[in-house]
């Protein structure tokens, strides 16, 4: 079974600084997607960034980038130039394909607090 582990329950960072959130996963599959979602107090899950496992190049979306280490099964998120609006819970997620369709498997999340 696939599992996703986020070992940092809480992180804090000052505005304009850089922070890295860690994520490891376990799977026997070779093709899969990895995601980082942001969940603010509004509760809506917002996709931050995604990575295809077959791509060696790390995905980047503006201030957000990932460090994908397939052999180590590691998928960390780096947030550069942190902003107050980045304060939220961040979830790492793994997407597997199975017979019926696809479903996301989430980690337990990291609460990020950005302060001024």
């Amino acid at each position: 079974a696939q599992t996703v582990t986020q070992s940092q329950p809480e992180m804090s960072v000052q505005e304009a600084e850089t922070v890295t959130l860690s994520c490891t996963y376990d799977t026997s599959e070779n093709n899969y997607y990895l995601f980082w979602y942001k969940q603010p107090p509004s509760r809506q899950m917002i996709l931050v960034i995604r990575q295809e496992a077959y791509k060696q190049q790390n995905a980047t979306e503006n201030r957000f980038s990932v460090n994908f280490q397939k052999a180590a099964k590691s998928f960390s998120l780096k947030i550069s130039d942190s902003q107050l609006g980045d304060t939220a819970m961040y979830f790492c997620a793994f997407m597997t394909t199975y017979q019926a369709g696809t479903a996301l498997i989430f980690g337990k999340g990291t609460t990020l607090s950005v302060s001024s």
């Binding site: 996703v4 093709n31 899969y32 997607y33 509004s42 509760r43 809506q44 899950m45 917002i46 996709l47 995604r50 295809e52 979830f91 997620a93 997407m95 394909t97 199975y98 019926a100 369709g101 696809t102 479903a103 996301l104 498997i105 989430f106 980690g107 337990k108 999340g109």
Partner: protein, 115 residues
Amino acid sequence: GAGVSQSPRYKVAKRGQDVALRCDPISGHVSLFWYQQALGQGPEFLTYFQNEAQLDKSGLPSDRFFAERPEGSVSTLKIQRTQQEDSAVYLCASSSGQGYNSPLHFGNGTRLTVT
């Protein structure tokens, strides 16, 4: 609407009551998922629909949980004889297809509190 809509936003039920949670996916989206998110935890998969067919219900925690999507659009998650451990946020998500290239769009969830 442009996004996934869930109602009610909050629901308080007394233990033993039945509840029904509604999800309106994005129009035309084939796939629909329900997730349960306990306080301070990540969402956990409950069930999956492709159009009106419930193709996976392996995540439903007990036979008190039932989901339907009779016309392939709106879905209802029903919980019978609610228990305190059912207290959680229930998230619905939809996507236009299945597979890696169909990102999930989430609603704002329904927070269920069982007293």
